[in-house]
């Protein structure tokens, strides 16, 4: 079995290499956040410091960007999740002839480069503003929310579509037979069924919005989000304060990713348990 063990070592080596490539740059950057020299350096490690984290908190632009990012992220969740939900439900009802065109249109933002979504949003709304005279529309926060939601809604829609595929229409009919109105069916049958998908869509929407750069940098106009402010800082020069920010963001997104995973796991486990219970009940019945 020597060839087999050689094979196995090679695979192990390859996987180690892959993850070294994946984590190496992040680890290196993380270390520089705690080293004293003012140029981000790993080695020699001259001394442990939290100075760069303090420098970060004192950075007004970044902090303002951070607040805007939180605001936009929340707005995107409020906009993209309902839009994705509606589009996914319409997908199940749209006439067969129109379905492929409809699908092409709503999925196109996923395959369009982010810069183009940002550009088209800004151009369109700047002229809408000009016609309507509503200056409030030409606002970085508003445009960034719309631009990001264009494709984030599509992500949400794809999540809802995969969940809706498993929806049993019989539940809906049962509720209707028992005298529920259509609206009640939506709120008491369909939405509870979609709850796990709603949660994952919301988390995904927030994270996608928070880290987005390409669309935002066009749509944000004179305002700043954390990523656009960060891009400005990075282009000016390298300082360990940025590494410190990376450590913070990685920490937060790590928590977010773990939470997201956990929720998904729980949903899966619950589904499996339900399927098992159903199978058991069936067996008991026969």
């Amino acid at each position: 079995m020597t060839s087999r063990s050689v094979h196995r070592t090679m695979i192990g080596f390859y996987i180690a290499l892959f993850f070294a490539f994946l984590f190496g740059p992040l680890v290196v950057m993380g270390i520089t956040a705690f080293n004293t020299p003012s140029y981000p350096q790993v080695w020699p490690f001259e001394g442990f410091t939290l100075r760069w984290f303090k420098a970060l908190l004192a950075d007004r632009t970044l902090m303002e960007g951070f607040r805007n990012s939180l605001l936009i992220g929340t707005l995107v969740v409020c906009l993209a999740v309902p839009l994705g939900l509606a589009a996914a439900i319409v997908m199940t009802q749209v006439h067969a002839r129109a379905r492929s065109l409809y699908y092409l249109v709503v999925v196109s933002p996923v395959l369009t480069p982010g810069v183009i979504l940002g550009i088209s949003t800004v151009i369109f709304w700047s002229d809408v503003t000009r016609w309507t005279g509503a200056q409030g529309l030409y606002n970085g926060i508003f445009l960034a929310t719309l631009g990001q939601s264009t494709f984030i809604s599509a992500y949400c829609m794809l999540i809802f579509m995969s969940r809706l595929q498993r929806f049993d229409r019989a539940q809906e009919e049962a509720a209707l037979d028992l005298g529920a109105s259509r609206t009640q069916v939506f709120f008491h049958v369909l939405l509870p069924f979609l709850k796990p998908a709603l949660l994952s869509a919301a988390v995904l929407a927030f994270l996608s919005s928070f880290e987005n750069y390409n669309t935002t940098t066009f749509a944000i106009l004179a305002d700043k989000t954390l990523t656009t402010a960060l891009a400005g800082r990075v282009r000016q020069g390298t300082t360990p304060a940025i590494s410190a920010l990376a450590v913070l963001i990685t920490g937060v997104t790590l928590a977010g990713a773990l939470l997201y995973e956990l929720l998904r796991r729980r949903e899966q486990a619950r589904d499996e348990a339900r399927a098992l219970a159903a199978a058991a009940a069936e067996r008991a019945g026969t």
Binding site: A98, P113, E211, A257
Partner: protein, 339 residues
């Protein structure tokens, strides 16, 4: 938008298409006389029906279709001061596209090599990055999908998800820390005595290309993994029992099966690489050619939105052409790519 006629056409076309489909649906229903299919509002109730209709219409018209058509229209106009917009000078023109080709809107004697080269280089490098990503990710995806035990698989998946959420700018910054003239790699090489003077990795584009490859690894791994996972391992065993060498198994059993995943990963990686803005801005050297920063400069350096639109459309058409080529090559449908 200058011309009220174009404006009307632009705004009315999507509505007309929607109306046409609605009428078709009505006719079909009447002809079929199917009592099972009820009207949209009857099926959803007034409240939910209104929400579905309003939300979907808003998304499609105000966020996808009109902005896009608008950008197309913009690209065929000249940059004019606001007072002259919509006046007699505001005619349809190909000037912005000529500028891309010739570097001038009037003189067509010399070509705009800087922009043309940047464009081709972006496409070529993006293709290479896509292929490289596939080569790097395929073995891992295969291992996770077919070989790894559930416990280890869970750990690997979690390990993959974490860096996925690290911001694009920060990833680029990490590569700057690694590849800068005073960066980690140069320091290491100097200390080992392998080089006597620091290498300018950023000027050589090494930093940019490896940063781009790095950035989109995971968008390749997950589609590949999802596709290979549904392959019945018995097929691989059967091929092996019949004496197929390992590369035969991959080339003729696994890859044809995983086609939708391969197509999906390749389109995503290509689209993101060709449309990358953060990495070229941060990791690009003074002589680096990349198309997206040029588009950005048309907007926010030259303040020529019309020309910027034309450039954006060139980029968009390239991406559309790539997606269509991949669909044709792999014989997959759009819904398989975006799953």
């Amino acid at each position: 938008m200058s011309n009220p006629l174009t404006a009307a056409i632009l705004f009315a076309t999507p509505l007309a298409v929607a109306l046409a489909f609605w009428l078709l649906a009505l006719r079909d229903r009447r002809r079929a006389g199917d009592p099972g299919s009820t009207g949209f509002f009857r099926r959803n109730g007034p409240v939910v029906g209104a929400f579905l209709l309003a939300a979907t219409t808003f998304w499609i018209l105000f966020m996808i279709v009109w902005p896009m058509l608008y950008m197309v229209d913009y690209s065929f106009h000249r940059k004019l001061p606001p007072s002259r917009r919509g006046g007699p000078d505001d005619v349809y023109t190909l000037e912005n596209y000529w500028y891309f080709v010739y570097g001038s809107t009037r003189v067509f004697t010399s070509y705009n090599w800087v922009h043309i080269n940047a464009f081709w280089q972006t496409i070529a490098v993006s293709v290479v990055i896509t292929v490289a990503n596939f080569a790097i990710c395929y073995p891992l995806a295969y291992y996770m999908a077919q070989v790894a035990r559930p416990g280890r698989l869970r750990v690997l998946l979690l390990l993959l998800i974490v860096p996925y959420w690290v911001n694009e700018i920060l990833r680029a910054f990490a590569f700057m820390v690694l590849f800068g003239t005073g960066g980690t790699i140069n320091k290491l090489l100097l200390a080992m005595g392998a080089i006597s003077a620091p290498i300018d990795f950023i000027g050589l584009n090494v930093a940019l290309y490896s940063g781009l490859t790095y950035a989109y690894l995971l968008l390749m791994v997950f589609p590949l993994y999802n596709a290979i996972e549904s392959l019945d391992h018995n097929q691989v065993e059967a091929a092996r029992d019949l004496g197929a060498p390992w590369w035969h198994i991959h080339l003729f059993v696994v890859m044809p099966f995983a086609k939708p995943g391969i197509a999906s990963g390749c389109t995503l990686v290509f689209m993101l690489a060709a449309g990358a803005l953060a990495a070229p801005l941060v990791l690009g050297g003074p002589k680096t050619l990349w198309f997206t920063p040029i588009v950005y400069d048309r907007f926010y350096q030259a303040f020529n939105w019309q020309q910027g639109s034309a450039y954006a459309i060139i980029l968009l058409l390239t991406c559309v052409a790539f997606v269509m080529a991949v669909m044709r090559l792999f014989k997959v449908s759009l819904s398989e790519i975006t799953r």
